[in-house]
């Protein structure tokens, strides 16, 4: 079983191999033999599952690459059953060749041996064309298992008009953020500096990420769980303070009430990801010209640490008969400049490829942001994202635990610090339940 071993050699999952076989969860490995080399002039058909509307991009590929036809199949989004569907297809042995997978879900696919080792197909030489930290999100055990597509570097979307009206400086540090929050509470007539969404664990994770905390690490074959490290709790304590003094509102984000708040100025700023630009533009069109983008507040003045929220990659699932052609397509999709411009138009987020912002569609001034070249802020942010952040192979459950515990804290029962202490134990249990070695830091 050399293949399986090398695939699982990353981090701790090697220890899980026997456990995985026992529960029949290992997908794909047996079907590696099905791979076939394309003969000259032979036409290859690739199936691609995604929820991002990539119709135009794929049409462009099919026009320019008559030998490799990509059949784009739009499947329901990640949490609406998209991943469930991918896992089912892996289990049944008939997965699509390519699939859209979010960075934080990749380890779960690694755990069921669902991803093709792309280093074997010569992908390592492409490294320099991609943003470093995004590339590393796709590397397990030193081998690349997916092609980075997009991410969500964080920054501060703020209402310039409101900050000026209430005579509040845009905060550069978290300390200033709190002071600004106090001023806005006093002067804002019911508005707050921002809204805290207790339901969004992925959003929250970007703050300990920025602080330099690491929720998950690996050491040999052991998972080190560290949700309640000193740095992580420092961040939680900061938000606890804002919540307790009612300096921020509590509101689930990216849904109707939140969009209304974005329209009415109920919150004056949003610590959001680059792909949030389209959301503000489309859902609060009447605030055109009022928004600007500033870097995330820092823990220490003069720093410029950043973090990420969201993002996904193009994975080649285990069992694809044509991994080399699939790799060729995935690389084109995520680096070709025409393709990137179409992806940007489809609102897919910040590119995984290194781009020249000046020449890209992203480099334009935008009247919605008062003609600011706002993506310069995100370019800067993307370059400052710590590359060592990892996700657990039981991350879906981790997020659920955080959601539950934060929900209780936001309702006034306990604090975020308590919540993370609680989550720590649950994540250890989840990993143990998968037969993985895990311990607290």
């Amino acid at each position: 079983m050399p293949d399986r071993r090398s695939v699982l050699a990353w981090g701790a999952a090697a220890a899980a191999a026997p456990a995985l076989t026992a529960c029949g969860e290992s997908a794909g490995a047996a079907r590696l033999t099905r791979q076939t080399k394309r003969k000259r002039g032979q036409k290859v058909n690739l199936v691609f599952w995604t929820w991002v509307p990539l119709q135009k991009t794929v049409a462009l590929w099919n026009r320019t690459h008559p030998d490799i036809h990509v059949d784009l199949q739009i499947v329901p989004g990640a949490t609406n059953g998209g991943y469930q569907k991918m896992h089912a297809s892996l289990k049944a042995g008939s997965p699509p060749d390519l699939a859209q997978i979010e960075y934080h879900t990749l380890p779960e696919f690694m755990l069921v041996n669902g991803l093709t080792n792309l280093s074997e197909h010569g992908a390592d030489k492409l490294k320099d064309e991609y943003v470093d930290w995004q590339w590393k999100q796709c590397v397990f055990g030193g081998r690349l298992h997916a092609i980075p597509q997009a991410s969500g570097p964080m920054a501060n979307f703020y209402r310039k008009d409101l900050f000026e009206r209430w005579d509040v400086e845009v905060p550069r540090t978290w300390d200033e953020f709190r002071k600004a929050a106090i001023k806005i509470k006093k002067r804002g007539g019911g508005s707050r500096i921002t809204a805290f969404p207790p339901t969004n664990a992925m959003w929250y994770a970007s703050f300990p990420w920025q602080r330099g905390a690491r929720w998950i690490r690996t050491e040999g074959d052991t998972w080190i769980v560290d949700f309640n490290s000193k740095l992580s709790l420092e961040v939680a304590d900061f938000w606890d303070g804002l919540l307790q003094d009612e300096l921020i509102t509590v509101q689930p984000d990216l849904q109707s009430g939140w969009y209304r708040s974005a329209q009415t100025g109920h919150f004056a700023s949003w610590l959001g990801a680059q792909w949030g630009d389209a959301l503000l533009r489309g859902n609060a069109p009447d605030t055109k010209g009022d928004w600007r983008v500033a870097p995330l507040p820092q823990w220490e003045e003069g720093q410029n640490a950043s973090a990420n929220w969201g993002g996904s990659c193009t994975a080649i699932l285990q069992g694809s008969r044509h991994p080399e052609e699939a790799l060729e397509f995935a690389h084109w999709l995520n680096t070709d400049s025409k393709s990137i411009d179409l992806l940007v138009a489809a609102g897919y987020g910040w590119p995984g490829a290194r781009i020249d912002l000046e020449k890209s569609a992203l480099g334009k001034r935008d009247p919605f942001f008062g003609n600011q070249r706002y993506n310069e802020v995100f370019e800067e942010s993307d370059g400052q994202i710590d590359t060592s952040w990892k996700w657990a192979p039981t991350n879906t459950q981790s997020f659920d635990h955080i959601k539950d515990a934060f929900g209780r804290a936001a309702a006034g029962r306990g604090t975020l610090v308590d919540a993370l202490n609680d989550v720590q134990g649950r994540v250890l249990d989840d990993l143990a339940a998968k037969g993985l070695k895990a311990r607290s830091a």
């Binding site: 329901p76 049944a92 042995g93 209304r260 009447d286």
Partner: protein, 305 residues
Amino acid sequence: MSATTTSESLTPRAPAPVRAAAPTPQRGPRPGRILLIASLAIAACYFLLPVYWLIIAATKTTAKVYGSSGLWFDSPQLLHNLGQVLTYDDGIYLHWVLNSLLYAGVGGLLATLLAAAAGFALAKYRFRGREAAFKAVLAGVLLPHTALALPLYLLFNKMGLTNTYWAILIPSLVSPFGVYLCRIFAESAVDDTLLEAARVDGAHEGRIFFGLVLRIMSPALVTVFLFQFVGIWNNYFLPLVMLSDDRKYPITLGLTTWQAAQDRLPELVQYTIGGAFLSVIPLAVAMLVLQRYWRTGLTEGSVKG
């Protein structure tokens, strides 16, 4: 929908017993009756409010959906919205509508026919294992469809039927609840002497079933058809695991793909709402057209039973 049908079918009948029980001069309606109507009205509101919201929201732009009161119009543009729904991505929505109609219509009809035959046989023929078969069907009523979807997928995958129309149609042909209802109905509504008479006249069993029994059972069949139609129309999980080509999706699944992309393309919020609005129309029409049969049917059964 169900709230309206019950309230409409109850109100005309309710007065009769009230008057019979109280022949003395009336001073307005009795408190019990007021309570009944009030609670039905509340129930009707409860069920109709979301539909009302949907109608209102379908006329708005994405920004207005969030930015204005959900209960009243704000610069309505229904036709423009629906035009967008029908033309987005080469009119894929129309594919979804046709697929839903195919799955629910054909699936519902064939399931009804099968249920009628099985129910009738279980009610009127004596054979070994009859009760065991019926109990097995009853157990099927208790099994949630969702639990069966994944095993079915693995099975269909072996047969190479996933991502085909058959993958939805074949599982839709089975309606344990329909068999159950048809058996109960056939027992009370189909008279044994009638069957004897038909046999004496020389009609063979097939002719008796298609020519006679189906007609007598038609009220129950309408019920089974409606249940099955609505069930297939609203089914999400089975098409989710079975289908991957979005041209084969039913409306439920298709709209979810739009919803998933809302984070990227906010105008899809409006298309999803418009699509949901259009998708309830066939169901409403089916209910309104068929409820006449349904109502008479259910009462008939209850009187004779």
